[in-house]
Each structure stands twice: as structure tokens, then as C-alpha cells.
């Protein structure tokens, strides 16, 4: 598959909504984030290499990549923290370099590791940020309360009086998220929002972010695939500074070309006999078996494009073995991710040493 695949294709999610939704088409297909040929050099190191992508309004997009791929750099360029070396980026039509202040007003940014001034208290800090965000004084208190409540900072336990350096990681992340929500920005940029959280916190964060989609456009970066799969309908995968793939999670899963696995459970008299029989089938690479009660479980690794299910069913029938499960496990996004980033780094090496 081609390694560099700039996303000129509109993400099918937007198309689906345009087809069945009640929103006017032009609003749904409005591009909120647009990146064209973006490049960033850090001295002699190329961090971001000519990437382009688009995010439509209301999308929740996952920006995936291994460490050092250029995710944070790209997000920092989008939020006007860093200038790009070349290329353009725009938020809602406003260029990040020439309309920097206007862009910053439209964006809520949560950097990696949520840096916070330790000596301030939660409420104080949120109030200060609300003031910086041009929220008028009489509305500030309400905005802070609303954001704090939404991020579980005031319920069930009131943490708003705590000093920021006394908060646990989960709460710091919530404060970061509350800060981002204060002025109800059109675009939310979250850099690794779920790093270091425990499963309960991840769940609450996940719920919150999913809820935010639709009203807000969210781009979040992560290398925790499982989380991104659940929250984001579309993904942009970046590796070694280049976009490796874009599309909906379903599309991407289909594109994995990896070995398939089939799982079968049957009651046999002699496990080894069935194992040998299955291993002898065309395209089967490996058969692992284990006992589940009185049933034998076979995990069959086969070549890609080979589906041994019917052959296994026939074997079971011929030998009179009761068959109680026969399923094919699709390749996971993880396989896709590993494969694509591996391909990417191979290509990068080839390019560098050419």
C-alpha cells in the first residue's frame, strides 16, 4: 500500500451525517482544521515532513503515532505555539501564522503532561485563565463552575480549593480539560489526554471527550490505540514525520494485511489427530491447541486471504466431532499500526540513505 497517503478524501463520517442528518450540508462539510504541506525542522532534524490533512467540523479525530513521530510538533503548530518551517495550517479558515490571535481565541489546548502553576488553587487558576480568554468578569464565575462541574472537579468531591501541586495526575488532567472548556472553543486540541490515568479515570475522560464531539471539533493525539479506537471515528496515523494513513477506524482495520486467526472448539477423542489434520490444510501456518474443560480449543494461524473455516467445519463433520465454536478473528488496529509504522520507518531509512 502506498506509504504516503495525503488525506484528500473527506472522512466518511461527515458524508454519513450529511446523508442522514438534519443539518444543512454546507455546515457539516465545513473544514475546521486544514493542514497543507506542513514541514518543521528542529535545527538539522526533520520533525514533520510535508504533511497534509483536513478535519471537518464536529469530528473527533485521533492523531496516532509512535513516540517521536511528530504528533506534538504538529499540534503545537496548530495552536500557534511553534511556527512551521514551511507549509500552512489554518483553523476555520484563519491562518495560524498571520491570524495567530484570532486562531488562539478559537482553540482550547491541553499540552502533554498538563503544565500548571503549582502555587495557584484550582478555582483561582480557572478564573485567571477565564480572564485571559476574554470572558467578562460577571460571567467568569459561572463559566468556571460549569467547567469544573463538567470535569468532575466540584462533584462528587470539591477539589476546587486545592492547590494545583497537591492534585493527583488524574485531577491535573481534569483541570487541564476544564481550562480548555472554559470559553467553549470551536476546536479542542488535546495532546495525550489520557496518559498516566487509571482505568476509571480513562473511562470518565473518554465519556467526556465523546460527549464533546459534535458541538466541538476535537483532535487528540495518543499512542494508546485501544482508547483512540473507542473515542475517535476517524484516525490520522503519523510516523517519522509523515502521514502513514487516514480514514475511519473501520476502513483502516480492513486495510490490514496480516495473518488471520481462526478459533475453533470441538470435542475430540485424540487432540493430536485433529491438530495434524488441520495443519495439513492449505495455507495453515500454525495450530495451537488447549483444553477448555472437555473441549479442545484450536487457534489456527493462516496465511492472509486464506479462510480455513469451511475446511475445519468439514473435518469436524467427517470425523463426527461436535463443533461448538468457529470464528475468525479480524486483524486488530494494533496490527495495522505496527505494520504501517514499520513500513514508514523502512521507507524513511531508504529515503535517508538513498
Amino acid at each position: 500500500m502506498p506509504a504516503s497517503d495525503p488525506a484528500h478524501m473527506p472522512l466518511s463520517d461527515a458524508k454519513l451525517r450529511a446523508a442522514g442528518g438534519d443539518m444543512p450540508t454546507d455546515e457539516v462539510c465545513r473544514t475546521m482544521i486544514q493542514v497543507r504541506d506542513l514541514t518543521k525542522w528542529y535545527g538539522g532534524v526533520l520533525a514533520v515532513d510535508n504533511i497534509s490533512f483536513e478535519v471537518a467540523a464536529g469530528e473527533v479525530v485521533g492523531f496516532l503515532g509512535p513516540n517521536g513521530a511528530g504528533k506534538s510538533t504538529t499540534l503545537r503548530i496548530l495552536t500557534c505555539y511553534l511556527p512551521a518551517s514551511s507549509g500552512r495550517a489554518s483553523i476555520d479558515g484563519l491562518d495560524v501564522l498571520s491570524d495567530s490571535l484570532a486562531v488562539r481565541r478559537k482553540i482550547g489546548y491541553m499540552p502533554e503532561n498538563v503544565p500548571l502553576p503549582g502555587e495557584m488553587r484550582v478555582r483561582e487558576y480557572l478564573s485567571y485563565r477565564a480572564a485571559l480568554r476574554d470572558i467578562p468578569a460577571h460571567q467568569r464565575r459561572a463559566a468556571v463552575e460549569r467547567a469544573a462541574e463538567r470535569c468532575w472537579l466540584s462533584v462528587p468531591e470539591d477539589m476546587t480549593g486545592r492547590r494545583l501541586d497537591q492534585l493527583s495526575r488524574g485531577y491535573r488532567q481534569r483541570v487541564g480539560l476544564a481550562e480548555v472548556l472554559l470559553h467553549e472553543p470551536a476546536v479542542l486540541v488535546l495532546d495525550e489526554p489520557m496518559i498516566g490515568l487509571d482505568p476509571t479515570q480513562i473511562r470518565s475522560m473518554r465519556e467526556l471527550i465523546t460527549e464533546l464531539g459534535g458541538d466541538h471539533t476535537v483532535i487528540l493525539s495518543s499512542h494508546i490505540l485501544a482508547e483512540v479506537e473507542q473515542i475517535c471515528k476517524s484516525l490520522i496515523i503519523i510516523a517519522s514525520g509523515r502521514i502513514a494513513a487516514t480514514g475511519t477506524t473501520a476502513d483502516l482495520r480492513q486495510r490490514v494485511t496480516g495473518p488471520g486467526r481462526t478459533v475453533a472448539e470441538m470435542k475430540v477423542t485424540d487432540p493430536w489427530q485433529i491438530v495434524d489434520a488441520v495443519a495439513a490444510l492449505d495455507g495453515v501456518k500454525k495450530v495451537e491447541h488447549s483444553q477448555v474443560g472437555s473441549w479442545t480449543r484450536l487457534v489456527i494461524s493462516s496465511d492472509e486471504h486464506v479462510d480455513p473455516r469451511s475446511a475445519v467445519a468439514r473435518l469436524a463433520a467427517e470425523n463426527g466431532y461436535p463443533l461448538r465454536e468457529l470464528r475468525r478473528e479480524g486483524a486488530s488496529l494494533e496490527d495495522f499500526f505496527v505494520q504501517i509504522t514499520y513500513d514508514q520507518s523502512i521507507l524513511q531509512n531508504r529515503r535517508m540513505h538513498a
Binding site: 500557534c80 488562539r104 482553540i107 503544565p115 502553576p117 485571559l132 476574554d134
Partner: protein, 238 residues
């Protein structure tokens, strides 16, 4: 302007909960009061605040860099600069806000030296002109020192280095010129004599309002603030 004041207020309040600021303030107060009671507040001495102002000015070379060292260095170190620079505030507003904040704390510190002044008024007849001019000189000199400190804080992420750089710059504007005047060639002596901030300050402490001093101190302040803004802007490109 509004954003500048918001940042200034936050910075000022931050100083009032900062242990270092209190230590610096206390040391400054202790040293200047010691000087006052040991040298000035004695029977037979002239009821003049001049020696006090001069000693405080020298103290400021050490004290003010300690106050300003955390202004930007701390933000670089902790990463909060990222949130500052992605908020809808300009770099100039950030610098001016921090400058005004620390100036506010400095003025509070200066106000505590009102005790010697009150004592002088009770027990002597100090010259009102000298007192007013002296304080004006302190404010002008102080803001210049603070601007230098802020600039030093903008160039590094290490607070200590910022304090040392600021101390270094201030020393070369205050202590070094005297040596250059004594040992240097005429060209350098000339320059050193004119760049010595203390000579201008001494005029103020004598009650003389010299516009040269005002212009020099104000423009130096402006220059270092400008340099701070540019340094902050340049951080984006690195």
C-alpha cells in the same frame, strides 16, 4: 491593556505567596534598617535620607535579581509557558504584565522603608525635596533593575543563572564603571562615567531633578523590556 493588568495582578499575588519574595523583602528591610540605625539615626548626624537611599540602591543590585529570576525562567522550566503562549495574549502583554507585577511588589517593599522616613520626620527636619526626589530616584532605578532582571529571566530556563546574569549586568552598570574610570583609557573612562547609573541616582538622592537621569533610566527600562519581548518571541523559533 486589560490582559496586561490581569497578568500583572496574578504575578503580584504570586509574589505575596512566595517564600522567596518574603525572604528577599525581609533581608532588604533588615539591611536597610540596620544601615539606617547604625549610621544615620544618631545624635548629631544630619537628618538626611541620602545615605539610606544610596545604601538601598546598592542593596537592590543583589535583591532585585533575586525577585525577578523566576518571572520567565520558571515558566520555561515548568512548561507553563506553552499555555501562556497559546492563550490569546501577545508576548508584549505577557512581558509588560510580569514587569508591572514585580514592580508592584517592589513598590510594596519600598513602602516599608517609610519607617525610617517617619522616624526622621519625628526626630529631625529632613528636607522634603530630598525625600521626594530620593524616592523618585529609587523608583526609576528600581524599575530599570527590574527590567534588566526580567530580560535575564527571559534568556534562560534556570532561575539561578537568570539571577546571576542580572546581577552581572547590573554590576557592570553600577560597580564596574568606577574601576574603568580609575584605570581605563580616556575613551572608556568617558563612557563608563556616563553609564554609571549610580551617579544619576546620587543626584536624585541629593534632591536634584536631572532630566538626564530620568531619560537614561526610562530608556534603559524600555530597552530591556523590548529585549525581553523579542527574546520571548524568539523562543518560539527554537
Amino acid at each position: 491593556m486589560r490582559k496586561t493588568l490581569i497578568i500583572a495582578r496574578r504575578e503580584l499575588l504570586g509574589y505575596f505567596v512566595s517564600p522567596l519574595a518574603y525572604v528577599v523583602g525581609a533581608m532588604f528591610l533588615a539591611a536597610s534598617n540596620f544601615w539606617f540605625f547604625h549610621r544615620i539615626f544618631m545624635p548629631g548626624h544630619e537628618a538626611s535620607l541620602r545615605p539610606l537611599f544610596e545604601s538601598m540602591a546598592y542593596l537592590m543590585v543583589i535583591a532585585l535579581p533575586l525577585l525577578t529570576m523566576r518571572l520567565l525562567s520558571d515558566e520555561f522550566r515548568s512548561g507553563t509557558i506553552e499555555l501562556m503562549m497559546t492563550a490569546p495574549v501577545t508576548d508584549a502583554e505577557v512581558v509588560m504584565g510580569k514587569f508591572l507585577g514585580v514592580t508592584g511588589f517592589f513598590l510594596a517593599m519600598l513602602a516599608t522603608t517609610g519607617v525610617p522616613l517617619v522616624l526622621m520626620i519625628i526626630y529631625g527636619r529632613p528636607d522634603a525635596g530630598v525625600a521626594v526626589m530620593g524616592y523618585l530616584g529609587m523608583v526609576l532605578l528600581g524599575t530599570t533593575f527590574l527590567a534588566v532582571g526580567l530580560f535575564a529571566s527571559a534568556v534562560t530556563e534556570y532561575q539561578l543563572v537568570a539571577a546571576l546574569i542580572a546581577g552581572g549586568i547590573l554590576s557592570s552598570l553600577v560597580f564596574l564603571p568606577r574601576a574603568v574610570v580609575a584605570y581605563g583609557t580616556p575613551v572608556w573612562s568617558n563612557l563608563a562615567a556616563r553609564i554609571n547609573l549610580m551617579t544619576y541616582f546620587k543626584d536624585f538622592s541629593r534632591g536634584i531633578f536631572d532630566t538626564r537621569g530620568v531619560v537614561l533610566l526610562v530608556t534603559m527600562t524600555a530597552m530591556f523590556l523590548y529585549l525581553s519581548v523579542k527574546t520571548l518571541e524568539s523562543k518560539r523559533w527554537r
